[in-house]
Amino acid sequence: MKYQELFPLPDEWIQESDRSMAETVSSWAEQEVIARRLEHKEDYDALLLPAMRKLMVDIGLQAMIMPEAAGGGGMDAPEAAMAAAAVIEEVGAADTSIGFLFANTLAIEYALAVAPKRSEESLKQAAPLLCGGDVTICSLVLPAYGTDMADRPRYYGLDYPATAKKGKDGWVINGGPARPQCCGATADLFAVVCDTGKGKPGLLLVKGDAKGLKRGEELKKTGLAASRNADVTLDKVKVPADALVLEGIEPLRAMLSWYYMACAAACTGALKTTHGILKEWGDTRVIKGKGQVFKENPLVASLMGEIGSKTGTCRVLTYNLARLLSRPDAYGSAGSGTMHVTAVSALKQVGHLSMEAMHNTMELMASAGYATEWNLERYWRDVKTVQTYVLPETVAQTCMARQYFNLEQL
């Protein structure tokens, strides 16, 4: 039985066009990544960048949710959340790091094109970059842990990575060193959450070649090879007035809800491939010297059952979140406290369950799961890296507690 049928998703919510896009991306995954990865492993120039170019530009994912008038795919409405989940799952199944990069792009494009009060000026400014003929690598720079105890405005206890002051000719941004969500070393476009001095956050776009933007040394990290990350410093970076894409807690939370959904989809994709790898292992491995097929051992089977259950749960959570985001008319704004916490909760559940499923899969495959040759370990590293990068654990817990139990001081 095929994966799609084994781990059902809410078919009734998925348009035929969404399905068709996902199939196109699935073909891309087979041809551009899976067929070539034994040879090129995680090589950025030989495998990942060409694959991204094909996906983002030739297939057109990069401009998928940008308005048609701006040269995009015209899916600039909340309904695009379902398509996004479906395609990112396929991208994540091929290479979770590319899925994660696309999650960053999607979140920024959500703020530009899909958010309820989109800024036409900002959209017009950014469209040539995102709808042009080359890959534009996008990176979010989000509130994070700080290093001092000064009394200053914070976002849910996290320090803003930068401040932005409005002047006559636009904004001046100062901050860092800050750790972007991805691609600090290579990004063409950063979207930086700034303290705008009005007691509320603002999301400002900063082009990669902006004067005063400094990139640190490229970081070595656990996984996500397509993300060549580095800390960035913003030293009196001047951006035009229309670089402010959104302002306020609720619009920012809405963007993050979409981002969390996209990251969850990338992890769910990793589980799809993990299932395929373990299936092959379980079907062909023989143990105990008696010709017992691996999967037919009761202990193995019990663990496989857990892995299957976790995989299915992740998929359901991801697609349900996408559905909620796609229907603000029925479920409310993506930036409402309830929706945001639902997104945080889904992201964290998917992160935990994915990691558990991958740990368990590696246990069953033993050293083969640990060797690069079998391809499992790269997904294990990638999903762990997504889990650490996207919203620290305790911050997520407080965020959920605040909403579910009406906390007033945290």
């Binding site: 492993k41 700080g146 105990k288 202990l299 193995v300 740990h359 246990e363 050293s367 690069t372 911050v395």
Partner: protein, 422 residues
């Protein structure tokens, strides 16, 4: 400020030279490995940056002579009643820097345990192989060639299979053993070792312990071929590869002990492998504590150091608790191996089982705390600069070897619950 020495250990169990072992191996870790370990992953194939650390520890400090009797130039731990706690201490300190070096270091002693340790010292083989390890300041590795392509952990599944699945054969021809077979994954393969201990059968398909043979094979003999090292998720300092034996001839007395005893002492080897796996985990956990303590003192959340937030402090407490438990269990296990007069023979089913239970407990705890430490640290958790992610990648394979967690569970269930059909 608290340090790793504030974690509990049963001090009355420690060896009389524990302070020397601790200071020497910690000094080695701080100077020879920790400053360079961030580059180890890229050096997995060549070992240019890793080799000096091995040379210092094994050759120049002489720790590769650990088990050999003093009369052959060794340090004589095989004759002592503190080889367990002494070995545990060194492996823990080494693994605090790099658990792969800990593994490679420990495994060099692993096959030698069969011939160097009381009460089963094989003096003829000690005399034969001691010069290889004791008369040099260069690092010299040995390896256990156990796992085979068809069976994974079947060979370590001694209770159930008793060697019946071993496909590597040892055939007696005159006064030589002729060995044929194919092994996978030994630590210190991939061209590193000078000596293999090879698990063979003298009769294909037999589950008679008398047909189980452990035979030493110098790696430069005709017919021994080693493949290229595997690329892995971590553990760069530990090279693993395929090994083929094609009509390899060794003298008949290269068999460790003979019918029955090879099987018995191989079980002891499994017990030791499990115990030292705890040391690899606790070393990595102790270093994670140090790294996390520094990180959580420096970075702020809600305008105060991370560690001063109750919710984060709760997780930090869990991590410290797990390190406490793992370390205590590790030293208890080491003591049990050191005092067979009190706890039973190292090769008894009870000791082998209990070492397995300690190992899979330690692995579960190590993986869990490293997972949680990375989660606390957010994007810095997966940053190589913070070193915790390296431990996270490295320790995972400790859980997977020696039959992995599932075989551990089966053996523990068999012993504690008198299971008869598993």
């Amino acid at each position: 400020m608290r340090t790793i020495d504030d974690f509990t250990m049963p001090v009355e169990y420690l060896s009389p030279i524990d302070k020397f072992l601790r200071d020497a191996s910690r000094d080695w870790a701080n100077k020879e490995s920790i400053p360079f370990r961030r580059g180890y992953d890229e050096d997995w194939e060549e070992h240019h940056t890793i080799e000096p650390a091995f040379k210092k520890l094994m050759g120049e400090m002489g720790f590769q002579r650990f088990f050999f009797p003093e009369e052959f130039g060794g340090l004589g731990f095989g004759h002592s009643n503190y080889a367990g706690v002494g070995g545990y201490r060194v492996c823990e300190e080494v693994s605090r820097a790099d658990s792969a070096i800990g593994v490679a270091f420990a495994v060099l002693h692993w096959p030698l345990l069969l011939i160097c340790k009381e009460p089963h010292v094989n003096k003829r083989l000690c005399a034969e192989f001691a010069p290889m390890f004791c008369d040099t300041t260069e690092p010299v590795f040995a390896a256990n060639a156990m796992t085979e392509p068809q069976g994974g952990s079947d060979i370590e599944n001694l209770d159930l299979l008793s060697g019946s699945t071993i496909q590597t054969t040892a055939t007696l021809e005159g006064d030589e053993w002729v060995i044929n077979g194919h092994k996978l994954w030994p630590t210190n393969s991939g061209g590193v070792s000078k000596l293999f201990g090879v698990v063979c059968t003298t009769k294909l398909g037999s589950n008679d312990p008398n047909d189980f043979a452990f035979i030493f094979v110098p790696t430069d003999l005709p017919g021994v071929t080693q493949g290229k090292p595997y690329q892995k998720a971590g553990m760069a300092a530990d090279k693993n590869s395929d090994i083929w034996f094609e009509n390899v001839r060794v003298p008949v007395w290269y068999r460790a002990h003979g019918p029955g005893d090879d099987f018995k002492y191989f079980k002891e080897m499994v017990a030791w492998g499990n115990l030292l796996s705890v040391a690899f985990c606790s070393g990595a956990m102790l270093n994670a504590y140090e790294l996390l303590r520094d990180f959580c003192s420096e970075k702020t959340y809600r305008g105060r150091p991370l560690k001063e937030n109750d919710d984060i402090a709760g997780v930090l407490a869990d991590i410290a608790r797990d390190i406490e438990a793992t370390r205590i269990i590790g030293y208890q296990g080491a003591r049990m191996l050191d005092r067979p007069d009190l706890y039973g023979d190292n090769w008894s089913d009870e000791i082998v089982t209990k070492m397995r239970s300690f190992k899979y407990f330690a692995c579960d705890r190590a993986i869990d705390i490293l997972d949680r430490a990375m989660n606390i640290m957010g994007p810095y958790g997966s940053d190589r600069v913070q070193d915790i992610e390296k431990h996270w990648r490295d320790v995972k394979i400790i859980q997977l070897w020696l039959g992995g967690k599932q075989l551990g569970q089966m053996e523990v269930a068999r012993w504690f619950y008198d299971c008869e059909t598993l």
